[in-house]
């Protein structure tokens, strides 16, 4: 104890030490090994050698460009859809929810309490060929009589949108809820129309929520492989599917690691560009 009294400055480091050490060993160091693996060549039979195998990267780009682009496309569409659904919903809860706010909020996060795989399988069920969604759409003529939704891009995008929607809705709700309602009243007192009030007051004030929400939705969506696997076919396979099968089925570790590094790099670049363009530094807070 007296040692600690004499060296007060040590206290924060002692508090940090165990947790940070754990993260260094099991998060930072593995990223280094991932990078190292991405430059190795070989197979399980011949063994793996490190020989600066940059062609793991060039192959990754040339052979899996399609899956990369598809991942970004699906993630982008899903993020926009999630925003379009979440914004009015959370606006409604934040401004009109009254005393039901907490209960309604619980409804938004409720999907998280159903195991990810099980709720995705439920979508498999809902969108299945003899399910009611398909038959309603067929009756309306929106889907041809022999058409299907399951095993199409639509199903995969629908699944991704649903599964990551709470990541969009929660930060949106927080930023909408924090808006000082008197600012909106002030705008209306000054004869701004509802549309103008929304565009000039509410929307800018909720921007941090929009930015946080889109990032939190886009990032896991771009790396996802569960929806493509359960709701799609190999024609819908995303980069996550390729990484997963190369690591766990084909044991093509070099190529798989190179693909993971590229995915991580693409996402980091997107985050930096996105936050720079929209100019927010509040993300990490």
């Amino acid at each position: 104890m007296s040692f600690l009294h004499r060296h007060r400055w040590l206290t924060p480091y002692l508090l940090l030490a165990p947790g940070i050490a754990f993260l260094l060993v099991f998060f930072v160091v593995p990223l280094g090994f991932l990078g190292h693996t991405s430059l190795r060549e070989g197979t399980v039979q011949t063994g793996y050698v490190f020989n600066w195998a940059w062609d793991n990267y060039s192959k990754a780009f040339s052979e899996y460009q399609e899956q990369f682009l598809r991942s970004l496309q699906y993630a982008g569409i899903s993020t926009v859809l999630a925003l379009l659904i979440s914004y009015p919903l959370t606006y409604w809860i934040a401004f009109r929810g009254g005393r039901w706010k907490n209960l309604l909020l619980l409804c938004i996060i409720a999907p998280f309490f159903v195991t990810y795989l099980i709720r995705t399988l439920a979508w498999q069920n809902i969108l299945s060929d003899d399910g009611f969604v398909v038959s309603v759409l067929q009756t309306l003529g929106l889907v041809p009589d022999d058409g299907r939704i399951l095993a199409t891009s639509t199903a995969v995008i629908a699944g991704i949108t649903y599964n990551f929607l709470p990541f969009m809705a929660l930060p949106l709700y927080v930023s909408l809820e924090q808006i000082d309602k008197s600012l909106i009243e002030a705008a209306k007192d000054l004869y701004a129309s509802s549309t103008k009030t929304f565009l000039r007051v509410t929307l800018p004030l909720s921007a941090p929520g929009v930015i946080a929400g889109t990032l939190l939705t886009f990032i896991p969506a771009a790396g996802d492989f569960i929806n493509a696997e359960l709701l799609g076919t190999p024609n819908q396979s995303m980069i996550g599917n390729v990484i997963q099968s190369k690591f766990l089925v084909l044991t093509d570790y070099g190529q798989a690691a190179a693909l993971s590094v590229i995915l991580m790099a693409v996402i980091l670049v997107l985050i930096v560009v996105y936050t720079r363009v929209l100019g927010t530094e509040r993300m990490a807070g």
Binding site: M1, W9, T11, P12, Y13, L15, L16, P18, G19, I20, F22, L23, L24, F26, F27, P30, F33, L34, T37, I85, P88, L89, Y91, W92, I93, R96, A110, P111, F112, F113, V114, T115, Y116, L117, I118, L121, A122, Q124, N125, I126, G131, Y162, K188, S194, L216, I219, G223, D224, I226, G240, Q244, F247, L248, Y253, A257, S260, M264, I267, I271, A284
Partner: protein, 285 residues
Amino acid sequence: MTAAAEPQALPRRRVSPLTRAWAFVRRHTLTVFGVLALVYLMLPIAVVIAFSFNDPAGTFNYTWEGFTTKHWTNPFGPIGLGDAVEASIKVALLATIVSVILGTLIALALVRYHFRGRGATNLLIFIPLTAPEIVLGASLLTLFLYLGTALGFWTIVIAHIMFCISFVVVTVRARLVGFDRHVEEAAMDLGANEFVTFFRITLPLIAPGILAGGLLAFSLSIDDFVITNFNAGTTITFPLYVWGAAKLGVPPEVNVIGTMIFGIAILLMLANTLLQWRRNPKGAA
């Protein structure tokens, strides 16, 4: 929902019936949209619960065949399902305990002390929250491959602690920020030493935050598929069981267990909300 809160009560002149009608339609459009969005969020949950009572003819639990409660009377009937659930609970308990201890210590250091390396620490906490799960899982796998560690129960536990720490830090830190340090000073003035003060004053006051962090860690752990998939070896957790079964047809017992997890989580959330209300009836947030 009250009409009095609407700004149209302002003494504006000549509000045409058309404008009023438009305002009415728009107000209710938002409500209708909100309700529809909630239905969309609840739909898969309802399907999961409903199909736990289904009596499927074959191995696929897709179409409604008839009501039965037989899956509820013997939820661990299918071979391996009971073991998988048991493994998941063990992993989640261990991961929760360790990540809560490590995470709370980091949160205390971050909120209470100014020290060199604060920014780096914040970054180290922030990156695992934003990195795609597949990259976290893949990089940890490469570490274990280099070390020659046999994959199994303990590598799953390590992986889960790793991704839970950041979530615990963020949750506990949020509660610590509003903490009144005068209470601690008062205890010290009255002759309590650091340890007594910590266990008698600090810990009980930040307990709700720790509890929230622990619940979050537990639910993340029990739900995790992606990172577990990379580091499980031949050990089967509940999500891994579901993944394996998805190809051959998921037994309705999986829906029973999914419903149970959902029910327990909702009950805990409601209990937590009630607890907060009783402590602080006005400032429920």
